[in-house]
Every structure is written in C-alpha cells, then in structure tokens.
Amino acid sequence: APDPIDDPAPDPPPAMDAALPAAVVATILSRLDVRSLLLASAVCRCLRSCASHALSFLPAFHLDEEVLTHDLLRPLLPRNPALRSLRLDAARLDDAAVDCLARPGLHELTLRNCNGISGRLLRELSATCPDLRVLSLNSLADRRGLAMAFSDLKALLDGCSSLETLSLALDFSKFDDPSFSHVWSSASQGLSSLEMGFIPLQMLLALLAVAIESRQRIGYVKAPVFFPSLQKLRLTVEFITDDLIGSISTALPLLTHLDLQDSPIMEPESATATDLTDAGLQQINPKGKLKHLSLIRSQEFIYTSFRHVNDLGILLMSEKCSNLESICLGGFSRVTDTGFRAIIHSCPGLHKLKVTNGSHLTDLVFHDIVATSLCLTHVSLRWCTLLTDVGIERLSFNKDLNVLDLKDCKSLGDEAVRALSCLPRLRKLVLDGTVITNQAMEYLGAGVCPLASLSLRGCYKLTNDCIPLLLAGSVKESLHALDLSRIPSLTDDAIMVIVRARTPLTELRLRENPEIGDASVKALASMQFEGVTCGSTLQLLDLYDCGGITLLAMKWFKKPLFPRLRWLGLKGSLNRIMVDALVLTRPFLRLACGGEELGTPYRDTSGEWCRHEDDDSEDLEPWQLDGEPVSDAETTNEE
C-alpha cells in the first residue's frame, strides 16, 4: 500500500464493468463479431449478462468460419427485432431451423451449403420477411428426398417484393413449370442483381422471349414488366449460343454485369443455334453499358472450347466495350494476340483481366502495355503456355497489381518472378506448374511484395533451400497462406524453417509430398507465438498423401494443440478408428480423407471478380492437344 505521506499513487485505471453502465457495455459488445462476443461472456458475470443482452439487439449476425448445429445456434439467435443481416454456413441445419432463419425484420440473408434445407425456406421467407433485400442461397434442397418446387419460387417472388439481390446457386430445372417465365413479372421491380446456378437453355430462352415480347408491349395498359432494374446477371447453361446472347441483349439492354458459363457435355455443332460464333459476340453489350463481362466454357465434362469464335468476334465486341472494367474469357482457344490486344487497347478502365486456356496468347499481348494508361489490379492467365518471362516483365509495369494467377503457364521461370518482386501491392501470387527454381524465391524474399498468399503447387524444381530464401524479408510477416503441394524434394527440414521463422500462417498445404512426415506435424504443433494467441495459428493443414505421415502423427492433433485448426486433410488409408476418434474429440474440425481440396471457396457473388475461387472445374487439367498425359487431375467441386 502506498505511503500516505508521499505523493498518492495515481488511481488505478477503472475496471470496465465498474466504469460503464450496463447498457453501454452491451452496446460495445454488440459491435463485436459473434465469436468475440461469446468470449467476452466468459470474462465476468457482468459481461455475461451484457453479452446476453447484446444478442437481442445485434444488427448483424455473421458466422462464416464455423458450422453450427441448430441446438448451438438457437440460443445465439433470440428474438431480435433489430437483426437485419444474417450470414451462416447451414451445412448442419435442416428444416427445423427454418423458423430461426426466416425472422421478421430481416433485410439480408446469406446461407451457404443449404443441402439439408428444403424449399420450405423460400415459402417461409416470403411470409415472414417481406422487407428482404438480399437473398443468397446455394445448394438448397440438394439432398436426396428434399422437396423443392416451382410453387416455392413463386411464393418467394410474390412475397419478397423489395428484393434487390437474388442469388440462388442451384439447379433451376427443379422449377420447371409452364408458368416459370411469367412468374418473373411479379418479382420485385427493384431487382438489380440475379444469379441462377444452372438453368436449362430452353427454359432461359423461353423466359427471355416472354420478357422481350412484353417490352414491345410497354405502353399498353397492364402489360407485365420484366426485370426493369436488372443490372447484374450471372448464370450457367449447357451451351452459350448466339441466340442466347441475342436474347439477353434484347431483353436486358441495361446490364452492367454479365457472367455466363457453359459446360457442354458434347461438342456443339457449327450452326448458329447451337454455339457461340463471331456474330453472337457482336451482339453483346448493345448500349455499351457493360462494366463486367465473363464468358467461360468450362471443361467439366469434355475438353472443348469456343471453336467458332476468333479474333474478328473479339475485335467487333471490343469496339463497344470501352466501359469495361473487368473481363474474363475462358475457353477462347482460337483467339490470338490480335484479339487480346484489342481488348487491352479498347478498354481504358480495365482493372481485372482473366484469360483461361489462352493457348495462343503470347508475350506480344503485353508488349506495349506501358503505352496504355491501364491500371490492372487482378490478372489471371491460366494455361497460357506460350507466355514467357518477357511478357510478365511487361505486365509488371502495372504497379497496382494485387492478385496475379499464372497457374500452368509452363514457360514461366525465375526472371518473371524477378520482375514481379518489385510490385508494391502484390498480395496474392499463384505460380503453380511453372518452372521456377530457388532463385525465384530469393527474388521474392528480397522484394517488396506484401504477399499474403503464395501458391507453388507443382513447382517441381524447388528444393528445401527455397524456404529460407523466401522468408528472408518482409514476406515472413505478411504471409498467411502457402501452398507447397507436389514439390517432390521438399522435406521436413523445410517445415522446420517455416516454424522457426514464426510466420503466422493460417493455411498450409503440403499435398502429395513423399518426404513430408510426422516430424513436420510435430514441429507445426509446437509453434508458439507471443502476443495474441498461443499455439499454432494454423486453421487449415492439408497433408493428403504425404509419404511420411503415420499414425504417430495423430497424437499431435489432440487438443490443446492446433487450437485454431478447422480443416485437416489426411490420407484415408490411415487407421480409420484412430482418425474417427480424433474427429470425435474435435467436433469442429473438418476432416478430408479422400483427397478433396480443403477450405470454403469464397463466393464473390457480387460478380466483380468472376468465378475465380469456386470454379473448381477449371482445375481439371485439359488433355493437351499433343496428347501429353498430365498428372492426376484435382477432384472436382467439393460442394
């Protein structure tokens, strides 16, 4: 105790629960994410009651990383008339949870993985949430035996008349009905963004035909109005054809975002009605309003591409596309540098460029990119096998580059990375399948890129020495996600270096590395950090098919080790009993034993960065034209 004769010691800072009234503490807690709120409730009795109170007036409840059951969720979602926005992973929910999800006052509802919920959700939403503005669901009623019908869609469209964004990433053939086209005239007049997961082409053409016919009758009394405010459209069909493009352009001339993907199961014939040709491309964007365009032919079922489109089509299209800010072209195998250059030089506002399967794309595309005033931030050039280091050097004049994906550009090497290491904003870099060596890692380590995510999958020339080179500079602090899969010469020593460098990794992938074993697991489990968290920061660890992993590694996954781990990939042939026992003690750990890719693909439903992360069908490596067999294809969509 301080001597009262001397200067009195300064008052100790007040404890929060004593200094502030409970209502204010509850207000503070209501500004936290759900997890922090629950942690706060374990601090003291006062905070527990304030947290409980806060739950009844939270404006937003967003829980993306955890998958909760209905029993766990219900007490966290009490009656709350102030709740406007709800975002959850619904993988463990079923119809019993519908009352919890469809709550009065809701403006925004985003649910992932609704496989266990039936179409009843749509009916409940229409009855309970008339003010709903944003609805985003995927895989609704996917599970066998769950009912979903056209009447559910009709109820939703009739009841939610304030909808602005509607994203239903599911198979619309379930909604097939003679009234399917007409029901859209009773949808919200303010609907500005629409996503349909998959819709049969004929259903879509019929809908567009009705919409076109109705436009021609505007001015007549009681003419139904279709999509008066629609600006963003995103969907998948079996084939993209000239007819489809023409219909969309006529029915929806004011679109700013158009995102079309097809996945043919057989080769389209050459007639206009069955495939996309130059004539069709010419019809895109009639009023020049498009800001974002994405046309992708997926190779999910067969190896195919837009064979009837060549440079002429792209040239004609780009004449009208001066307002484009973002473009994704997948499967335009006949387009050469002429076409791609036309885009770059016609679209001064372009920020995002994605080309997949650009088999004729060469360095010439970027030859004089300096002469444009382009400010590219996101660039993805996958399977552009003719692209060399020179092209990347030219591309790297874009100092604003944020994200660069060069997967399977097999002609790229160290000099390309040297050019990239000067980019001051580069956060995400994918170099899968390139022929870089340790030298490239030295460049990155010495460079200025604030890399948060680096993927080196299949860079077979790398060895253990690349890791200390990479982590020599600022990358050590910024790196969160690292993919070192399929690098045969990588051993446990490399992982030791990572651990010793204390890089705060949240994702580490080491798939199919024969030399990675138990020692790596032990090292990663023992990672210690001062400050915020103790123990490893890893949330995702993929050790699928690592040669040295044995049952002994299992003990390193027990609590309290790896406290944040949510995703774990292991080879399925490990003793099932032990693996199952692990899952029982860690109910929130998602285990993949069949080689599936880990992690929830982040769905950017704003359509801005087109289908980048979740389009796993693009990961299927194509059979090369010259017949060269490729390494085992990655499994398709884990959804």
Partner: protein, 196 residues
C-alpha cells in the same frame, strides 16, 4: 476551445435569419467550473443540449456536472469538426447546377479528402488511455451525441476483438467473479468459440 472565466453575459443573442447558420454561441460549464464556448450548431450535435436550448434553459450557460473539463474540450472539438463536415456536405448537395462532370469529380475528390481528414481526426481522438476513453463514452452517453458514442464504443470493441478471455480481463482490469463451475458452464455452452 480556450477556457474563459465564467461569464454570465458571454452568450450573444443574434437573431437567427431564416436559412442562414446561427452565430449564436453557447456556453458550456464543466464539472470543475471551467467555461467553454461552442457555436449553437456544434452544441446541438448533443441531443441533450439541443433540448435544453429549445426549452430556453441555455441562456446563462449550461452546467454539465458529469463532464470534467478535459473531456468537455475533446467533446466540443468533436462537435465542431463534425458540425462543419455536415455543413459542407449540405453545401455540396445544395449545388445541383454543377452538372459538369469535371466539377462533380472535383467535388467528390474534395469531400473524399475531407472524409480522410475526418477519419484520421476521429482515430486520433479516441487513441487515448482507457480511463479517458471511458470518460468520453460516459460524456457522449450523457450528452446523447450518437456519432461520438458510436466512435468511442467501436474503439473499445476493437480492443476486445479477437482477444482471449484472459487478455480481456488483463486489458480492462476486470476481476473474474465466476465460480469454477459457472465458468466451466459458460465455456462449455459455446465450446466452439473458445479455441477448442
């Protein structure tokens, strides 16, 4: 705002001309007797003070026995800054004649720069020690200044975010008054949140 000795006649009473900003100054008196002046516009950012003005109780200065001088000066600084910003926004909105695109861009750039300034002002205002931050919250709560209350509460929330239970106790000097069983029960209820 500089402190002036308490002066009963310090408030000028110019009549408010329709549509123009009032120049009337309001005197606010802190708990330790210091007087501060603020424009009526800035003072009305506090709903409490606004009501007192409208009820005619403000002519001799408004005593605020809950708010010490140090805090009151910060609060007034906040109100001055944000009242000016609200005014500027209104000015921009009130000039629809600026149909020219360049002008629009200039206006947008100007207000974007001002917004940045405001953001950094706000950030530095709440970058204070805990005791002061709590006092700001109490003052903003008492005076009903929503913007300031939101700002200060968000700062405290940011300090709590992503911390462990022990860390929160440490930072905010909170004593753990749970029994062992109670604490276990709380942690078990939502085990998924507790790094398990």
């Amino acid at each position: 705002m500089a402190a002036t000795p308490a002066d009963a006649s310090s408030s000028s009473s110019e009549a408010v001309v329709g549509g123009e900003k009032s120049n009337k100054m309001i005197t606010l008196i802190s708990s330790d007797g210091e007087s501060f002046e603020a424009t009526e516009e800035a003072a009305k950012m506090s709903v409490t003070i606004k009501h007192m003005i409208e009820d005619g109780c403000a002519d001799d200065g408004i005593p605020l026995p809950n708010v010490p001088a140090k805090i009151l000066s910060m609060v007034i600084e906040y109100c001055n800054k944000h009242a000016a910003d609200a005014d500027d926004t209104n000015k921009h909105v009130a000039d629809p004649a600026d149909a020219d695109e360049d002008d629009d861009n200039n206006n947008n750039n100007a207000s974007a720069g001002e917004k940045e300034d405001l953001k950094s002002f706000d950030a530095s205002l709440v970058a204070v020690d805990q005791a002061t931050l709590f006092d700001i919250i109490l003052a903003a709560n008492f005076l009903s200044i929503k913007g300031l209350l939101d700002l200060a509460c968000q700062k405290v929330a940011d300090d709590i975010k992503d911390k462990s239970v022990e860390e929160v106790r440490e930072i905010f000097k909170i004593e753990n008054d749970f029994t062992k069983e109670e604490e276990e029960a709380v942690r078990k209820e939502n085990a998924w949140a507790f790094n398990e």
